[in-house]
């Protein structure tokens, strides 16, 4: 498992991922955090420029696959609206009915 830093954009509410240089809307841009992760999170929390910053676990890949359904839904979009999916790749949890 790798660790990713995520949050919601204050202006738009969009899910955002730490790319190493800044925030990205694309989960594929997320970088695995090293030992600096917790300090980075503390810094982001203190800066209050984004909402609900958090570190999550994911399987490495392109894009990474977040461990929990909640984070996969945040990363890829609702499983019930294929048209609202965030990434070009199919949602890993897309339902048949959608």
């Amino acid at each position: 498992m790798i660790r990713l830093l995520t949050a919601n954009d204050t202006l738009t509410g969009d899910v955002i991922w730490w790319s190493g240089k800044g925030w990205s809307l694309n989960l594929a841009d997320a970088v695995a955090l090293g030992a600096e992760g917790d300090a980075l999170l503390a810094e982001v929390v203190a800066a209050e420029n984004v909402n609900d910053p958090n570190i999550i676990e994911a399987e490495a890949g392109s894009p990474p696959r977040p461990r929990t359904m909640r984070e996969r839904i945040r990363g890829f979009g609702p499983t019930v609206r294929a048209d609202l999916a965030r990434a070009a790749a199919p949602h890993p949890d897309q339902t048949k009915a959608a």
Binding site: N8, T10, L11, T12, G13, D14, V15, E48, N49, N51, D52, R67, T68, M69, R70, I73, R74, G77, P78, T79, V80, R81, L84, T95, K96, A97, A98
Partner: protein
């Protein structure tokens, strides 16, 4: 329907201006998120999984065609082309941008709508019977009383920071379409032996983590005094409600812990102090409001029959059309539950079409139901076929009201930050499994209600079949409960046994339903009645072997 006066409009406009300034300060980082969060929540703006979610109040589920048209336009302009009608008769938008929220609220204010008190520990939107004013079985129109409650509770300075959120429902029929016994306060309009109009007062009902059916604390309070009586209830709750534990802060816990008898004694004592203060609305004010709910100009010459020669139309009439108090008219329910669709979702185009149809066929008025459907409450019987044809062309004429595919589902983990599991895909899979209309009609009335977490926005406790999504070591799991009801025969569903996977719960529901079909006395015996007659065992046997 009620139209804002200068005071209503001034309050709402002022709130938009205030919020615009608050957003501006937040975006300029002049206030922190911790400071801003309670301010945005007071205006119904949540941060959910994907974006900000705005919950817009629809008082007692009633809105005009003009308002619906604006809701559709907002879906297109500020969201992603759709909205979600909720179990509290509101609408939610899932993809709102903070910077656009003030403009959105200004558009709502221009048509006498807002998002105030759709969040927070205050008195929330007043809910009511979606057939109010038109129902053949009501003793009087409950909407003027619901409107008075709306005005009384809006910005009420004493009740803006309650121990927890507070929900009030009003109905006027013995057949309960508003789930009054599952609200913090449920008010049922009825007549006493002398023929006077008053309310039966239920207090302390609710679902969520700890469900309770509300006991009656007063059999009759005259309509002239119900506001001060509600004030007394809220005062007792505000004084003794648990502020130390969020899970025990609802009034239902207080009523349960001290007992309905002691709670009633305290309310009566408080009311004895309040009653002489003449806090109730003057008769003239009530009459002013009531006049705005005067019956529309019904055509006394409207034929009181329906041409049922079109078989598909006849099926829709049988399931989605209810009796109206005026001969020649009917109440039509628009299903927002097409098979495989998302319960309660409507596209901008559908909302605009419904607005047009309301203007053409139902005196420009629409109702939202707590079952996440819409209602045109005043349709001429000889225009039902034309209405149905227009609805069918927009996938809005599914003839499934109260059937197995008319499923209540909260947004669940697909949208909601509180959810533990997805609700919508389960509802979709069940609907697809039972898509065959003949099979649905053979099963008869069967209310499935699905929640994605213990907060029970999907009313699973009140489902004939209730499904609760939970998290089991990082995996979605679904508990099945049977025997709940939100109607006049209110009951709480009981867990059947161990939980299931997403696919497993659909199979389990089918096994329950097939067991019911095998054991029912006759096709007229509803699932709920059969369950109450035989108990859980035959269903456990069918599901778990």
């Amino acid at each position: 329907m009620y139209r804002y006066d200068q005071y209503d409009q001034a309050l709402v406009d002022a709130r938009v201006d205030e919020f615009r300034d608050q957003v501006k300060r937040r975006l300029a980082h002049e206030i922190t998120e911790d400071q801003f969060k309670p301010l945005r929540l007071m205006n119904g703006l949540y941060l959910q999984l994907h974006a900000y979610m705005l919950r817009v109040a629809i008082p007692y589920g009633t809105l005009s065609g003009t308002q619906m048209r604006i809701l559709g336009g907002i879906a297109r302009k500020y969201d992603r082309g759709y909205g979600h009608f909720t179990t509290r008769q509101n609408i939610q938008y899932n993809w709102i941008k903070l910077e656009q929220a003030p403009d959105l609220l200004a558009e709502l204010a221009a048509v006498e709508m807002h998002a105030i008190q759709t969040s927070g520990n205050c008195i929330r939107n007043i809910s009511s019977d979606q057939f109010a004013g038109s129902a053949a079985d009501e003793v009087a129109d409950p909407r003027p009383y619901a409107e008075l409650l709306r005005q009384w509770s809006s910005f009420h300075p004493e009740f803006s920071f309650l121990p927890r959120k507070f929900k009030i429902a009003v109905t006027a029929s013995d057949h309960d379409r508003a789930a009054v016994k599952l609200h913090d306060i449920g008010l049922q309009l009825h007549r006493n032996a002398a023929g006077e109009l008053g309310f039966r007062v239920f207090v302390g009902g609710g679902m969520g983590r700890t469900p309770f059916i509300a006991p009656v604390i007063r059999e009759f309070i005259p309509v002239s005094q119900y506001l001060s009586y509600c004030e007394a209830i809220l005062r007792v709750y505000n004084r003794y409600g648990r502020r130390d534990n969020i899970y025990k802060a609802r009034i239902k816990i207080l009523v349960h812990e001290i007992g309905a008898e002691e709670f009633t004694r305290q309310v009566e004592a408080e009311w004895a102090l309040l009653e002489p203060l003449a806090l109730d609305a003057p008769t003239a004010e009530y009459e002013r409001i009531k006049a705005q709910f005067a019956p529309p100009a019904y055509d006394a010459a409207a034929p009181d029959s329906i041409d049922r020669s079109d078989p598909d139309f006849a099926v829709w009439v049988d399931h989605n059309v209810a009796a109206h108090k005026v001969p020649g008219y009917a109440i039509a329910t628009i299903s927002l539950k097409p098979v495989g669709g998302i319960p309660g979702d409507a596209s901008a185009e559908q909302m605009e079409l419904i607005a047009d149809l309301a203007a053409k066929y139902s005196f420009d008025e629409i109702r939202v139901t707590h079952s996440q459907n819409l209602v045109l409450a005043d349709v001429r019987k000889d225009q039902l076929h034309a209405l149905w044809s227009a609805l069918a062309a927009a996938d809005l004429a599914t003839p499934n009201l109260d059937l197995v595919t008319d499923i209540i589902a909260c947004p669940g983990l697909d949208y909601c930050a509180l959810a533990n599991a997805r609700s919508i895909p389960v509802a979709q899979s069940i609907a697809v499994r039972f898509a065959n209309l003949d099979r649905q009609h053979d099963i008869g009335e069967l209310k499935i209600k699905i929640s994605g977490c213990i907060n029970a926005c999907g009313h699973h406790h009140a489902g004939h079949i209730g499904i609760l999504g939970v998290d089991r070591k990082g995996e979605e799991s679904y508990q099945l409960s049977l025997g709940g009801s939100g109607a006049e025969d209110t009951s709480l569903a009981k867990i059947l046994g161990p939980g299931f996977s997403e696919e497993g719960v659909v199979d389990a529901v089918e096994k329950v339903i097939e067991a019911y079909r095998a054991l029912r006395l006759n096709p007229q015996e509803r699932f709920l009645d059969a369950y109450r007659r035989v108990g859980a065992e035959p269903f456990k046997e069918a599901v778990y072997g």
